[in-house]
Symmetry: C2
Subunit: 491 residues, 2 copies
């Protein structure tokens, strides 16, 4: 379709009224607003004088596009994605031009750009999107993120983020309490993701053992290492994992805590993925011993389904994050303020600007209650068990581990008929290695489902199914199994 035709179509399909009750709004009115948008530019919006109505109209049109996308996301008959190669996007698909120019585009064109951006993207909330640990589209979390964007502030002081910084303390207390620490003595910070939360954990561990690093740097330290090896060096910290990315495995936290206590080592638990399981009374035992950790990484943007980014680093001891990371930059954090500056968070982080990641989590917690998260997470565990049981019965699938899954990850191979009866050998594995990528590639091209695969150690490419998407139902699981067989049987 040519650009001009698409514009014409757009005029018909988008108007702000459609989103409420299109029958009662006069067509003429909508037509008039659309005419405005095709001749209007960003500079006509607020804060421009007389920009109020246009701003409202434009934003409602954007919301209309988003609502339409949300509806499609949850429709299992819609495709997850409309696949194209990078060079096709770069060259411009059907008039969708990514290049930036010196001159502005009309508001109407921007709406077309928004539609196209979503059209060529991936619906990560689709019931058959199993590709990542972070998946699903939580409507409350989404609303929280829209509000956060509108409030557009920075977490670094109470002064400019009074509600959000206090919400952060409320959430951190809650999470520390759930871990099993004394809330009044614990501390933490929300960071842009699990890697950076882990970085904070290591920085604090190192600072606790070697506070002189703050003034004198790495050079005054012995050669310190994170993991003890036979070769010696000076260990200072053990990092345990609660919920590994591929297998969903949990380290034995009590055993590790015993060793850490004996040798006076910092114990950091990377529970980025597994942390959410603490909210399930039935399954939280997997993390037993986490209360003995010194620091914990926990990403609500994974199992708890909060929109990305939302990650916390929690410490059992209060004050360490501040002592470790403060720069006492008076030009950023003035001490002579009208309020209690303990709520200024800037000196606890290595960041200056810090995005507000707490509101969406707070709003979701309000909306679901702790029990609501529990119901959701228990359902994922049930689905994983169901999936495991179904696969176990099928002789063209083989589970990577025989035992029931510890978590919502289920790893498995699919064997096309031609490979099914060949015994394990280097040659057989060479062939098996290619199966998952081929099936996945075809799934992407057809847009029917998405799940991850990877090799690991001596195991050639296997699929990793994972449940963290609230839209997924048992029928989607059945569908996935059929789909893998359909796409793989002739490979």
């Amino acid at each position: 379709m040519r650009r001009a035709d698409r514009k014409q179509m757009r005029k018909k399909s988008i108007h702000p009224c459609q989103s409420t009750d299109k029958d009662v709004i006069k067509e003429a009115h909508a037509e008039n607003l659309m005419t405005n948008l095709s001749n209007a530019y960003a500079s006509d919006l607020l804060p421009s004088k007389e920009g109020k109505d246009l701003t409202k109209c434009f934003l409602l049109q954007v919301v209309n596009i988003l609502l339409h996308y949300i509806e499609k996301t949850f429709d299992d008959k819609s495709k997850i994605l409309d696949f194209h190669h990078p060079h096709q996007l770069l060259e411009g698909l059907d008039g969708f031009d990514l290049e930036l120019s010196d001159h502005p585009e009309s508001l109407e064109q921007l709406l077309v750009d928004c539609t196209d951006t979503l059209k060529y993207g991936v619906k990560t909330g689709h019931p058959r999107y199993f590709n990542q640990l972070s998946s699903g589209l939580d409507v409350i979390g989404l609303a929280g993120e829209w509000l956060t964007a509108t409030a557009n502030t920075n977490m670094f002081t109470y002064e400019i983020a009074p509600v959000f910084t206090v919400m952060e303390t409320v959430l951190l207390k809650k999470m520390c309490g759930i871990i099993g620490w004394r809330e009044t003595e614990a501390d933490g910070i929300f960071s842009p993701g699990g890697s950076i939360s882990n970085l904070y954990g290591i920085l604090v561990a190192r600072y606790k053992q070697y506070p002189e690093i703050k003034a004198r740097g790495m050079a005054v330290l012995p050669c310190i290492v994170l993991f003890v090896s036979e070769q010696g060096q000076t260990p200072f910290c053990v990092v345990a994992t609660a919920g590994s990315t591929v297998f969903g495995a949990f380290d034995p936290l009590h055993d590790i805590a015993d060793i850490c206590e004996t040798h006076k080592l910092w114990m950091h638990v990377d529970a980025a993925w597994g942390g959410g399981l603490l909210l399930s009374r039935k399954h939280s035992c997997r993390l037993s011993g986490i209360e003995r950790a010194d620091s914990v990484t926990w990403n609500p943007h994974k199992l708890m389904g909060v929109p990305l980014q939302c990650s916390a680093l929690l410490t059992r001891e209060k004050g360490l994050l501040g002592a470790c990371n403060q720069m006492q930059a008076e030009y950023l954090f003035q001490p002579d303020k009208v309020y209690n500056i303990n709520f200024d968070t800037g000196d606890k982080t290595i960041q200056c600007g810090r995005h507000v990641d707490v509101f969406k989590l707070w709003l979701m917690w309000k909306a679901k209650g702790t029990y609501g998260f529990e119901v959701q997470i228990d359902r994922y565990m049930e689905l994983a068990k169901y999936f495991y049981k179904v696969l176990k019965k099928k002789d063209n699938f083989k589970l990577v581990f025989d035992a029931e899954p510890e978590f919502t990850n289920v790893c498995f191979w699919y064997f096309p008929p031609r490979l099914k009866h060949i015994p394990k050998s280097f040659e057989r594995d060479q062939e098996l290695q290619k199966i998952a990528p081929k099936i996945k590639a075809q799934m992407i091209v057809e847009g029917t489902a998405m799940l991850s695969y990877q090799p690991c150690g001596d195991k050639v490419n296997f699929f990793r199914m994972v449940f963290s998407n609230p839209a997924t139902r048992q029928t989607d699981v059945d569908y996935l199994i059929d789909e893998i067989q359909r796409l793989g049987k002739d490979l």
Copy 2:
């Protein structure tokens, strides 16, 4: 007002129709939807069956609250904030309860929570909000962020963020070109903020000089330092600043580049704040020499007014970020994919999950064109000059520097009449030190304006005015001067 009364009021004031054309929607219909919301919970929304209409209705109500807030933000007669102390928020203001419970709240209550969150927050887009380098509310950027939240994906692979990863390459190329590098040979990454972008710059600098660090760690390096001092050690990198936070000062980049070339040192330019000035043909000369840098930090969430977070680290040499930061984790980034994996960005960063910060910038660039940014930035420079000239004429104000401002920062003291004629002395400065905090505290309490103050070296607390808010007009500048005098004259 009691909680029950507020709920009642809310029922009247919020309904989804109001945002389009409230006259034509029947009151009964709205009443019906509201009844639904007061008895409905998050679990009734999509992906729940039959959740479609409720989801639409709920999100439109949220948008209605946001539109109302946006309108108030740009109204200079509205207060910037309704100040309260942290303990008041923690204790719960007028029924606004931050504590999290085990049980869910109704959708209607969540709307009240959203309204309250905005009510007690700070309007960072208000025309008289001058408090930070990041300020203003760009409507297009906002729309971009709403869409980003709805798409809810992760920048780490093309697979799950096809449009956004390609947009990132388009933007990075554009920015590298503007710096003056050969686009095809340059590279970069968007990170969660300036500090982390600077961290990437230093990591790359260190890696370039000592690639063995990747396999063998810090211990094999000499004691390396960033800045050369008389004491020696081994310098490897010089960090220059283009636009300092308080004074808006620019380091002489050509002189620094000469030194770096002679001594073969990496040159990193922190242009987090000043980078945007490159878009002004009139003022970009301030950054002359930046094209000789090896890496540059540039935060579009500062001068360019993109909603926070939006920060880029740019390198002149392609491939270094990947070589420095890659972990070759096959379980995250499979090499055997259906598309060109050069568009997978995960191995360039220390993050795994990475928020989509590019779309809002891309959409704003489409909306304004490069020239649109230029017009906006040139206007800030004009306002700074105007403000400087007005202050210069007033004998109860004193500029920290006599010269015309280099950038949009203007630093100054206000002298109340009782201090005006006292010559500089320790005792006078002790008194002057208290003036800015007192005026600022009163401004916050009254919610009339917000600007920053800080001491610096031997200079006691002075105000820093800064222009980066597109809503600010000359009348707001005049207002600020009057306001400082009104609040300060009797101190």
